[in-house]
């Protein structure tokens, strides 16, 4: 049976003036899986996420998201993805509930359980509190709620556990796993917390100097007896620096 891809990029380039941020970048995320995207600061992770969500236009190359071209079918793609890129932004004077209501209206989704979603991310009983009074962790939780409330097929999350306490990190981990297991959602996420990536990702891709240099399933990686994700990641990054 052929693999169904949620994301597929081939020969992707992105330049800002003379600065080439992505260079011949190929990424493949299988549907219904969790993909951990690793890279040091400035490696090109956020640029990749922005291209996948239509915020940036690729300089060259092919980008398919949910089987559609990201440049020509952006609006169709946006209906089916949920994203969290950069620091989450909200309508500060409005409550969590109102923020989600507005989001649902823009996504053209009439039926969604706001209470249940807020409860899933641990924001029950904060429904009517203005977002301006939220802590960093609460904002992050609300951003995750917003990304998933319209039941997208694909979640693109840039540092989703940023600012969360250990309990929150574990809750989000369980939530992401349940979304994939019960709703067949695909998740592409980045994180600098390698233990977290190891806990939930099925496949790991490492980007270095704008190129995805290695993509492997965690299962394959763990075949070696003494696998250590940190060592693996640092060795790839060093390799990339030496080759640069």
């Amino acid at each position: 049976m052929s693999t169904e891809w949620a994301i597929r990029t081939k020969g992707l380039y992105k330049s800002f003036g003379k600065n080439e941020v992505l260079c011949n970048c190929s990424l493949a995320v299988e549907r219904g899986t969790i993909y951990g995207f690793l890279g040091i600061n400035g490696a090109g992770k956020t640029t990749m996420f922005k291209i996948l969500t239509g915020l940036l236009i690729p300089t060259k190359g092919e980008v398919q998201v949910l089987g559609k071209d990201v440049v020509t079918q952006k609006t169709d793609i946006l209906k089916h993805i949920g994203s969290l890129i950069d620091m989450p932004v909200f309508y500060e004077h409005l409550s969590a509930r109102e923020n989600l209501e507005i989001h649902l209206a823009y996504m053209d989704v009439e039926r969604a359980d706001i209470e249940e979603t807020l409860s899933k991310v641990g924001l029950q009983r904060t429904e009517n509190q203005p977002v301006s009074e939220f802590s960093l962790g609460m904002r992050q939780r609300l951003a995750i709620a917003r990304a998933m409330i319209h039941q997208p097929q694909l979640l693109i999350l840039d540092e989703p556990v940023n600012g969360l306490d250990p309990v929150g990190i574990r809750e989000m981990r369980d939530l992401f796993k349940s979304l994939v297991e019960n709703h067949k959602v695909t998740i592409l996420f980045s994180s600098h917390i390698l233990s977290e990536v190891e806990h939930i990702a099925e496949k790991i891709g490492v980007i270095s100097n704008g190129t995805v240099v290695r993509e492997m399933t965690l299962h394959e990686l763990k075949k070696g007896s003494s696998f250590n994700l940190e060592e693996y990641f640092i060795s790839i990054v060093k390799e990339g620096k030496d080759n640069a």
Partner: protein, 241 residues
Amino acid sequence: MLKLIKLEIKRNRLKGYITAGLVITVTLIGLVYLFAAIPYLDASDKDVQIFMTYNGISTLSLVVATACFSILSSVMYNRFIIEEYTSKKVFLLFSYPVERNRVLWVKIITVFLFIVISMIFSGMIVFSIFFITESFFPLCQDVLTLSTIFGIVASLVAYSITSAALAVISLWFGYWKKSASVTIVSSVIVSSIFGSFSSEILLSGGITHNLMILVVIAAGSTLVALALITRLSQKINTMEV
């Protein structure tokens, strides 16, 4: 479109702008009576003749109202458009599956309609109060006829459209410089130029003559606004964040 307008209103509270509209209305009421009282203060001055006719009083009041509502409109454009497209809020805006130029047009239409409707309401309140008191205790020596009232109401509509359209010019400058102060300062400059230019022309003619000029000014400024919005829409469509 209506759904998007409702969302725009929900996201950006209008309460403050409604209060500002009410403050402008109260100020205009005071101004109209001040204009009507000027001939009593210094009857010897030659320029005082302007304030002896309803046409003169209404023209000057409406020019001031146009400037005030145009500046209010530029403040709204700053909040609705410049702040959203130049801050991180743009990530949110561009993550919705709605065409970018459609969202921009919705924002412009929301502000445009709010300003036109507010200014018409404001003008109606100001002149209704003034003309009611004039029928009992006339300050102005002119005769108030139905055609004068009709001319003022028609002018009010034309001025309202002009006011909203002129603010688009300041939006253009503000977006170009990505600055709230540039938006508001340019709005003050554009309104001042409009004020001195239009009062010069409009005070020299009668109400019918004025109305024709006003329709031309309103149509002209709307065309300029449309051209600027089209250009802005193209910029936003290809914008990368």
